[in-house]
């Protein structure tokens, strides 16, 4: 191996590397975002308090059963096999002609969704019961409790795990080469088909993957810091400190004297 050869390969094939990296990033970003949304929705549904009786209870049980099945099936089978089954299956059995790129995004999304559903569930469970109760006690609905109080905290808490999923997705999109998605691994294979220099070419690909995953990790760490907000708070200046009258307590409570 010569260092020069690596430079030559880059000089010659950089558009293919770049396109491959672009597709990889594109699939993993969209897949992670859609997957996270799927995970959040499933998380909300799975934590709806179970009604004690009636039709609602039956419907909720069925939905929960289906969601569990979804999570178990997609967590329990390899993505490379899912890719084959979904891409060729949709063609042969359902007569749906997906482009490889669309199929790739679809597979990564539902796969991530299955993992994120469990991560979100864990995140929701970790929020203490008291905040749910406080939220119900001021009259908020389950959906309001989730969107205004619980999920913002869950999203912050599961951000490291989501970053993990993102990094895994960047690497695992390489399996989509089996359905000929033109991502980075597929492009590298095409290049080696021309120059037969496997080690040098894949070494470059290795570096590209690492740069991608490392940047994503750093960016997410930065977002985490942002979400945490400032360490300190400022006290509000109170110019009227001395002459502040004792506040008229609860005037519009329409309360008649106590005794």
């Amino acid at each position: 191996m010569e260092f020069q050869f690596i430079l030559k390969t880059i000089a010659k094939y950089w558009p293919m590397f770049l396109r491959g990296a672009g597709i990889t990033l594109y699939i993993s970003i969209i897949g992670t975002v859609i997957g996270s949304v799927i995970g959040l929705i499933i998380g909300i549904i799975r934590t709806i308090p179970m009604p004690e009786k009636g039709l609602k209870r039956i419907i909720l049980k069925i939905i929960n059963g289906l969601l569990s099945a979804y999570v178990e099936v997609f967590r329990g089978t390899p993505m490379i096999v899912q890719a084959m089954v979904i891409y060729y299956g949709s063609k042969q059995a359902l007569d749906i002609d997906m482009t490889p790129l669309f199929a790739g995004i679809f597979i990564v999304s539902i796969n991530t969704g299955a993992y994120m559903a469990e991560i979100v569930r864990g995140g929701i469970i970790s929020i203490d019961r008291g905040q749910f109760e406080a939220s119900y006690a001021i009259g908020m609905s389950h959906l309001q409790t989730m969107t205004k109080v619980v999920l913002p905290q869950v999203i912050r808490n599961i951000l490291p795990a989501t970053g993990n999923e993102f990094v895994i997705n960047i690497k695992d999109t390489s399996v989509l080469n089996v359905i000929s998605v033109t991502e980075l691994f597929f492009q590298t294979k095409s290049i080696t088909g021309n120059n037969f220099k496997y080690f040098e070419t894949f070494f470059i690909t290795c570096v590209i993957y690492f740069v991608l995953t490392y940047s994503v990790t750093r960016i997410l760490r930065f977002i985490e810091k942002k979400l945490d907000g400032p360490e300190n708070y400022t006290l509000l200046d109170d110019e009227l400190e001395e002459e502040k009258p004792k506040p008229a307590v609860l005037q519009n409570q329409n309360i008649i004297g106590k005794h």
Binding site: E52, D128, G130, Q131, E133, A134, S135, Y136, A137, I138, G139, M140, S141, Q144, K148, V149, P152, Q153, R156, G229, N232, Y233, T234, L235, L236, D238, P247, V249, L250, N252, Q253, I255, I256, G257, K258, H259
Partner: protein, 264 residues
Amino acid sequence: MEKIIDIQHLSKTFGNNVVLKDIDFSVNKGEVVCIIGSSGSGKSTLLRCINLLEKPSGGKIIYKSENILDDKHDVREYRTKLGMVFQQFNLFNNHDVLGNCTVGQINVLKRSKEEAKKIAMKYLQVVGMDQYINAKPRQLSGGQKQRVAIARALCMEPEVMLFDEPTSALDPEMVGEVLKVMRDLAESGLTMLIVTHEMGFARDVADRVVFMDKGVIAEEGPPEQIFNNPKQERTREFLSRTLQQNPAYIPSDSSEAQKIVKAI
């Protein structure tokens, strides 16, 4: 006197464990009621049944001449009429102090942001936390958190405030600031139902004291009766036990104590 909440034959069981037995109890408008009793006597469960955080197993809760335990009744609307203050504060950790006080107003009462903020500031002033509107719960002390929690409940302008052992999770030196806020509220004529271990506070502030024991209301009456001449043997036992073990329960700011301090 107008009854705001009227509880009839309320019972609650967890599995085989009977926590509340046939409770008859009501709260009148403008009244301050303190519920005392040893741990496990069902005080907190009673309070939590009143705003349906626990679903009662039987009986009725009459609010505005309607039984809110009927299936068709809108639980959420009823809950906005009750302000709840928890032992563990339960502030929303993702909101700052102001957000804690406005999120319910904006989403449940559909008030505008400006109006919600104005009302929040008013009640934060009542509890003395108006300077801290930018602080997050994790940056506050226990006493401050509880005062914010009281303001959050007041912002919904409830008809009754329920306090579930509001000072039990506080460091001793912070109990005073929370009790002072509650004292101010009581004097303003707010209807309050307070589960507490602060006997001094109950004696000074309550219009009526309810002593609970083993899931039933063992005795109720004005504080003078409960604390000075309890009719029931178990009330007497409970009081002598608590007062002996914790002399701090003897109020530091009750009128007698103040007289003594002044005399010295």
